[in-house]
């Protein structure tokens, strides 16, 4: 049990540093994030400390980061956990709510890059146009008022891009 926990910790811990740097890179300089065991000899009785430092910012606890900074840190953790327990697809509901335009673009580009590797499929709900304009395809959902139900429309963005080009 302890072995499996430490194995998970090591994989996730290594991946989170990688992903966080990638999600926060500005002019070649990314932020730093790492996980640390409060007590490596008794991992279950103690917590896991997660520290994330946006680029060019000094060390602070998670609860001192801004709303958007915490979202990016949380996303890095989700992707790192996925590295240890890979699933074939990811479904996300409005994870970009607290992100400014620059961070929305960074997260969308990261997701697009991972999707293009072909090993992970993404279905992401978003209200932000600078997020969804970077998707390969769109599923538009609208309300049919008379029937009082949801209806959908699917659009292939890649196909349209190819036709325009």
């Amino acid at each position: 049990r302890k072995e499996r926990f430490l194995e998970a910790f090591n994989v996730i811990s290594e991946e989170i540093t990688k992903v966080y740097t990638e999600l926060t890179e500005v002019d070649g300089i990314g932020g730093t994030a790492y996980l640390s065991l409060e007590d490596p000899s008794e991992p279950f009785l103690h917590g896991i400390k997660y520290n994330a430092m946006p680029p060019a910012k000094r060390f602070r606890d998670m609860d001192q980061l801004s709303g958007g900074e915490r979202t990016v840190a949380a996303l890095a953790l989700l992707f790192a956990i996925h590295k240890f327990r890979p699933s074939p697809f990811f479904v996300m509901d409005e994870v970009d709510a607290a992100l400014d335009n620059v961070n929305v673009t960074r997260v969308a580009d990261y997701i697009r890059m991972r999707a293009q590797e072909g090993l992970l499929q993404f279905v992401v709900i978003s209200l932000k146009d600078n997020f969804y304009e970077r998707a390969h395809g769109l599923v538009g959902i609208f309300r049919d008022v008379s029937l009082e139900c949801s209806r959908t429309v699917t659009l292939d963005l890649e196909k349209h891009a190819a036709e325009v080009a």
Binding site: R4, F5, E7, A8, I12, E38, P43, H46, G47, I48, K49, Y50, M62, R70, T71, A73, A74, L75, L78, I81, H82, R85, S87, P88, F89, F90, V91, M92, D93, V95, A97, I111, A115, Q116, G118, Q121, F122, V123, V124, I125, S126, L127, A135, H136, G137, L138, V139, G140, I141, F142, R143, L147, E148, C149, S150, R151, T152, T154, D156, E158
Partner: protein, 160 residues
Amino acid sequence: GRIKRLELQNFKSYGGKQIIGPFGDFTAVIGPNGAGKSNLMDAISFVVGLQSKELRGRQLKDLIFRSSNDTGDEERSASVTLVYENDGQETKFMRCISDKGIGEYRVSGRVVKAEVYHEQLKRFGILTKAHLGFLVFQGYVSELAGKSPMELTTLFEQVS
């Protein structure tokens, strides 16, 4: 593998039979407030076997489409079918709720027990019993950011 398409029937706000897809490698789901986007995520969560306490309905019957045009004698059943594609082959996973609120699971058209259904999903790497890290519900990201060190330990334990 990946999701090829979804077929919803009377699931939450999706009245009647609706086919949604095809899904590519990166699909964005868009639309106004209240349109039914989160309900679509609920449909995916439902069809991969999530237990009803984790879905946004109090009991299975709440997941069946209702409209104010209803007379009251409707006997609707609800279902979500996931058409999953792996190595060029399609597998259909279907989960239904009868009008009485009884659940049923089918793989490739054949009725199976819940354990078999979850086992089949597991073979494709879809582990709904272990850790739901691949289903990120509205609001989960800020919850994750706010976790205490001990809560993170608990999370890592569930994952491993």
